[in-house]
């Protein structure tokens, strides 16, 4: 039997395959199609202090092998999440990673404070949503000092595993990742979506009202893979890799490039069975090649 178990911070997972934030709702949406108990972890849609309505239409735009989105963090808000969504997820035998997002350092601090007593496995700090901007039009994940401030504040209240989700839209992701590591993060999730845009030629206007939107899907895989490689070279803490993963081979590439765990995002829309198939193929691969533990393969790329 191949051993798929992994550990990230204090969080023990039965396998390293997650579903990425924003692509799997609060888990319940997919429960009729996917056996949630098989997943390594479910990362929830990012939660904000108050419910958020999100952006106007259009929110989605198909591109060559990819998908641009501009959802704008529509979510039920902290209160409803704790009262309704979290208890549902707790019924399952899977890792629960709660993603949080804020517009100010203070909001992240309040979210961490409110969630510290709740029962789940890890907190993912989303400081990289391209569709919600702070006044300075800079994301927390685009400045090592801002990233550090957020993590320090969250750490003060939240003692269990903290994952920081970074944007690829920076010159040196290693620099930001190092700042997060130093500030007390247990793991780095790489990457959120790439900045992109689309044009409505009939009207001569941008498709999206914000002009910029986030690109995901197989189109970004080579780009994201390199960001994961760069990040894993820069830090000692585990990296969770994602971007266009559609099958086990995609996932294995990420693992070889330094990812301790992987997440399926937009792939869930095409085929909700992808994460479960990856887990099955991963176990088969370990067994057939007598590799024992999946953790042995992490960062094993021969350069």
């Amino acid at each position: 039997m191949g051993d798929l178990k992994i550990k990230i911070g204090d969080m023990q997972l039965k396998n390293p395959v997650m579903v990425a934030s924003g692509t799997f709702g609060y888990g319940e949406e997919y429960a009729q199609l996917v056996d949630l108990n098989k997943l390594g972890a479910i990362v929830t849609k990012s939660i904000t202090l108050k419910p958020r309505a999100g952006n106007n239409q259009p929110r989605l735009w198909e591109t060559a092998s990819g998908l641009l989105n501009s959802i704008g963090l529509q979510n039920v808000g902290l209160k409803t999440f704790i009262e309704e969504k979290l208890p549902y997820l707790q019924k399952y035998d899977t890792g629960i990673i709660v993603s949080i997002a804020g517009e100010t350092v203070d909001e992240y601090e309040k979210l961490a404070q409110a969630l510290k007593k709740e029962k789940f496995d890890a907190l993912e700090i989303n400081i990289s949503c391209p569709n919600v901007r702070t006044a300075k039009r800079m994301l927390f994940a685009q400045d090592p000092e801002l990233a550090r401030q957020v993590i320090r504040k969250v750490r003060r209240y939240y003692k269990k595993t903290v994952i920081v989700k970074l944007t690829p839209n920076v010159t040196d992701i290693g620099l930001i990742a190092k700042a997060c590591e130093k500030a007390g993060a247990d793991a780095i999730a790489v990457v959120n979506t790439f900045n992109g845009m689309a044009v409505d030629l009939k009207k001569g206007v941008p498709v999206f009202k914000n002009i910029v939107a986030g690109l995901c899907g197989p189109a970004i895989k080579p780009l994201a893979l390199y960001k994961v490689y760069e990040t894993s070279q820069a830090v000692r803490i585990p990296v969770i890799g994602m971007g266009g993963i559609m099958n086990f081979h995609d996932g294995l590439e990420y693992i070889l490039c330094g990812a301790s765990a992987i997440a399926v995002g937009a792939g869930n829309f095409i085929d909700p069975q992808i994460p479960v198939k990856i887990i099955k193929d991963m176990e088969l691969y370990l067994r057939e090649n007598h590799l024992g533990k999946i953790s042995r393969l992490v960062g094993s790329l021969k350069c």
């Binding site: 924003g22 692509t23 799997f24 709702g25 949406e29 997919y30 009729q32 199609l33 849609k45 419910p51 309505a53 999100g54 106007n56 239409q57 259009p58 929110r59 989605l60 735009w61 198909e62 060559a64 092998s65 990819g66 998908l67 989105n69 959802i71 529509q74 899907g217 197989p218 189109a219 266009g244 559609m246 937009a266 869930n268 829309f269 095409i270 085929d271 909700p272 069975q273």
Partner: protein, 256 residues
């Protein structure tokens, strides 16, 4: 809700750019209600192409059919699929129509007409309702399913924008005339079609104080309510998901 590999029993042009696709699936056929849709994976390859959400047109014991118009990359590829090939289908999805008894008026425009067939069948067979169907199209070649509705026992009114068949003008003008007649008062109006049509149907039914349900269309990411991609503004603020809270809504619920 199921995810099935469904064998294609038929996939053929019916008129203009409209096609009828018949898929084998006992489980989906048994679970489906009028107004629900299927989310179909058109392509198995590595090219990332989102599933295409298409409304259910008709169910039989072992099969479910849809009518679609080839409008782009996805539906274009779908039209090339041959019988005996299979398609990865998720369905039935979404919230359907609320069945009412008494007199019902069904208003359809373009491919929207297709999903009203399943509704008409249930209204007549399960509710013994009296059904009037108003079919709107640009021109006579694009008038969908007229005979199918007549065979069910519906009163059929056809309407073309160029006047090549039936009433000349928009289907909503016909609806307005119909509702203006004393005693025509239907118990409910159901509508499926392009947004400008639905907007006008919503306005007319509100004016005449007749309950109305509309079926909406939007680009979808997941089709199951997870990604928040296909939302429509709610009348009371915020957004509703077309795939999960709809695609059928009370016309007063949404800001059309």
């Amino acid at each position: 809700m199921f995810q099935d590999k469904c064998r294609i029993l038929a996939n053929e042009p019916i008129c203009g750019n409209f096609y009828r696709l018949v898929l084998e699936s006992k489980s989906i056929a048994a679970a489906a209600v009028p107004g629900q849709f299927l989310n179909i994976r058109v392509e198995q390859g590595t090219d990332f192409l989102l599933r295409r959400p298409l409304s259910i047109h008709e169910i039989k014991k072992n099969s479910v059919s849809i009518i679609y118009k080839t409008v782009g990359r996805g539906t274009g590829k779908l039209s090339l699929k041959k019988p005996k090939e299979s398609l990865d289908v998720i369905g039935p999805l979404g919230k359907g129509y609320t069945l009412s008894d008494g007199k019902a008026v069904l208003v359809g425009g373009g491919t929207g007409v297709a999903s009203l067939k399943f509704l008409a069948a249930d209204l007549i067979n399960k509710q013994q309702a009296a059904v009037v169907v108003m079919i709107g199209a640009r021109t006579r070649e694009e008038v969908l399913c007229g005979n199918e509705f007549s065979e069910l026992g519906c009163k059929v009114e056809i309407c073309t924008e160029d006047g090549t068949l039936g009433f000349k003008g928009m289907v909503t003008s016909l609806l307005k005339q119909y509702l203006s007649v004393m005693g025509a008062h239907p118990r409910v109006v159901y509508a499926c079609g392009p947004m400008p049509m639905l907007k006008e149907v919503g306005r007319l039914t509100s004016h005449f104080r007749i309950p109305c349900e509309v079926s909406l269309e939007e680009h979808m990411g997941c089709g199951v309510g997870a990604c928040m991609g296909c939302v429509v503004p709610a009348r009371n603020g915020g957004y509703l998901r077309v795939c999960k809270d709809g695609p059928v809504f009370d016309a007063r619920e949404v800001a059309l």
